[in-house]
Subunit: 210 residues, 6 copies
């Protein structure tokens, strides 16, 4: 009988129990129960490729309604990131392309502009809800604190490219539109009508788009 | 010359450096620079009142558009919660009152119904955006995982009351409507129109309400 | 051959590796080796019931020598609390009922009085061993810092009820009497006689009660 | 007007913000408000002596009712331990000397016998309250898990000596006898009589000794 | 009398006590005692510039013996990184330029090649001391686990550029050559001769270079 | 078919999910996939021996080129150290014996001299690379902060003995010589020649010794 599993513990802080714990993807294929992270590959079988990923220089496809494309490099792409608490992401923006308001529940993001000009911003928590925003040029760096709603918009007529570091192996993404108007099943129209102080038919209209 | 300050370090985990570190509110009144938390009151001057708060049995005023009222008991109310990583909150709900979609960036919430019936739910992160919801009766307990968008709605014709524990001395609240449509200044109409896939005039109409 | 397991990693802080990791109790039934926590249930199989518990409005049975009854809501009752670092507890007190001196090695407790009047207190560590105590009325809130010995006593002629939040999925309870005089096997009479500065026969008399 | 302060943040995990943060004791002498730990001495003024302590080879004075003496080396003795999360302690035991039941709320203890023979033990939490004990000889090592009640007793006719490592800069000590029967002011006799299932006069007799 | 200070606590994990704690550099100018991190700027005075840095597109000056140049973006460059646990670094490499063996005591590094070809590698701890290395091309990503010795070398005839994310606001750098042969004062020749199993005059020759 | 596994999560901080989690070495013998730590032995089968180790009073064999011998007591020797975050080590030094420059990526070390006289020191990070050193006598205690390169040398004509506490169940050791000149395979001669500013033939000569 074949039975294996996919077990892991995670290290939010850098003091893990060994040099590294490369995620064992083969074990995961056979897994019967899901686990919080991944099993460690036998260190003797670890190879340099477990620590690497190729293709971050390739533009993503921005041919979508938002005009943006995300290329993540998390533990899903590099198994050695397991337990190490960091990831990268490349984002491509068509002219006026947008990364719509979202937040990462498990990571702060530090973003740098490789090409183009971007308007970026984040909003502080209640009760201030202050928007802190800035237009970034090539070579500029900006910080989105963990858990705060933020967005990026290409404000130039050229394509734009950014690279970000995030301090989690799996930062998570919660896009406000998807979470609020696109959940499966829908949140009650009544609740959203109160939340956004609009008529229910506008809520239903927005829900219909998601 | 009077000069004092308000300094603190926080303990996310329970291994702090002493038994407790009661926030020194008097020091804070005189503070020149803001700090991450609060200074510790001299342990010799600490009193039982520093560890307590009164009035959580009093109903909040639900006479507002949402029909709900929040009574928090965080480090702002009990200085001894400083460094201890927990807080309580009482919520009152008028009939059909709602706590609109929001999240806590720094805490999981465990809620129990003291009186009434509530529909509660939260939405998972991308890409699933699954709504996990349930109607709770008196004595039911439910969990909202840290960082996920959630809501509560009184589904009865009576007032309802809940008490929640949250694992942070200052959980933070980000109400989706406020953060997205009510920020100061506003997020560009264009970005929100793309985010919610609606016309800009609807965005402006919603922004006008906040 | 049937073989499965029960694996988990815990999150003292809220930055876990996914939205949640619901404890897989079925896996635990078949487990051969014990683990530090629980495996995660496949997220696709998770249901709202995994996040809930019913019956916290029911009084516990205080018909015992202490006149108190504990109803915990930890990861043992709500599998979704796994990795989320919080729990609740309801306590019922008969008139003059007592929760005898004990401590929680892994959690601070924030308690609120739902009904009745209680004397509560905790003792600081060496060398001060200061008792910080207060009589609480309905609606009062009090904090017992992690790891400190504390107690509660109903000081009214009516039943009393409290609800507490604790910042661990499994706070642990160490009752001083049980640990010191009721261990299995007994601690040497000689050691306890020195510890409490009494005759050995008094130690043996107390040990006999446990 | 001279005014300075004594501020610090602590590092439970090893990822502090610099190589070290030597506690600035001079600042502490002038401090007006108490803080959670200590300020960092200017790194340029740090000296090797800030990282050292002398005299751990000297026997402590065991001429006391317990026949034992504790010589701690914590952040109080070595300012550089500030933020580094470890300490040492030497204990001397006269023949049949005892370190009475106590626990450390913030540290696990690993103990080794330098000279002599000791009975050591700890008790697990509710509901098992199992005593795990062993007689140690010279060169033996034993572990007391964080937060559990433990004790040591010299079981030979010679002096004994142990050295322990504890994983906190300030582990804290809660001696059961002191906390329960020796608090200032006393815990109500009635509560302790119920806790230990003895007559109130026995409780008062024990309290009188502390 | 003017007196202020520069106090902070840091957040290795994302559960800080507020949305952010921008380092207050002005306070630091006046500081009398050094602290573990930085004070928080008053949130009302925070501006978008506190979250940003410009110039990461500018090549560093590689006209030095190593043929490489480091441009860090840590809390020293962006005060808002204070407590947020992440930083970026750009590195320029002249043809055959090298970043010599070094390690970061407080961060894992995830590196991506913006231009050029690089040989990179790291060495595992005792007893294996295995070199895990790979030649990276433009768009490749690689991971150096926290605390392990690693290096990069431009293996092309063109300039090379990399950008890295590191999961600390202040990762720290320990260059092996500097720490071992360039310390002030020198480590005893005798110790280094044993450490590297060479004659003392070779040790002295190397020390003379640093 | 026999299949079991060896699963664990680690506790950098002391708030684990139960009293202890003794490493299950039997499970590890049968393990198919490696894990980040160890499974917990069934608490009912735990014995005092799982918490103990014997023989730390025995001198190690210093008959080697360095004239020193390390006797570690980590989770490999005491399975109960699993999740508890501490370990001990005894070191023996022949006259003029040396523990060559090394560092622990996961632990601060606090060392005390049981017998003899030692020169000890550590080097701070870039850019200062300051050597902080001291000659220790019997009974002296010294601290090596986590991640910094340090060394010890017997400066007397007698054997010396030290005992250290380290705040990790598995501190890890990276010996500079082994990591830089003794890796398998070798680091390129060219890189090391630049790193140490010496001719390649000297690098090759040193590499030949490892």
């Amino acid at each position: 009988m074949a039975l294996t599993f996919c077990c892991l513990t995670f290290a939010v802080d850098p003091a893990s129990l060994q040099d590294f714990c490369v995620a064992d993807k083969f074990a995961c294929l056979l897994i019967a129960v899901k686990l919080n992270g991944f099993a460690c590959k036998n260190p003797a079988w670890v190879q340099a490729n477990d620590f690497s990923f190729s293709g971050l220089h390739n533009p993503g496809n921005t041919g979508n309604p938002f005009g943006s494309a995300i290329t993540p490099v998390t533990v899903a792409q590099i198994p050695a990131l397991n337990t190490l608490g960091i990831s990268l992401v490349r984002i491509d923006y068509a002219p006026w392309g947008v990364v719509v308001p979202h937040y990462h529940p498990r990571a702060t993001e530090i973003i740098t502009v490789i090409e183009g000009s971007l308007e970026v911003g984040f909003v502080t928590s209640n009760p201030d809800n202050r928007l802190i925003s800035k237009t970034l040029q090539k070579g500029d760096v900006f910080v989105f604190p963990v858990g705060l709603v933020h967005f990026q918009r290409n404000v130039g007529h050229m394509n734009a490219v950014t690279i970000s570091g995030l301090n989690s192996q799996n930062p998570g993404v919660i896009t406000i539109g998807n979470a609020v108007f696109g959940s499966k099943p829908d949140i009650s129209t009544d609740i959203l009508a109160k939340a956004f102080q609009v008529d229910k038919n506008i809520v239903q209209q927005i829900q219909g788009k998601f």
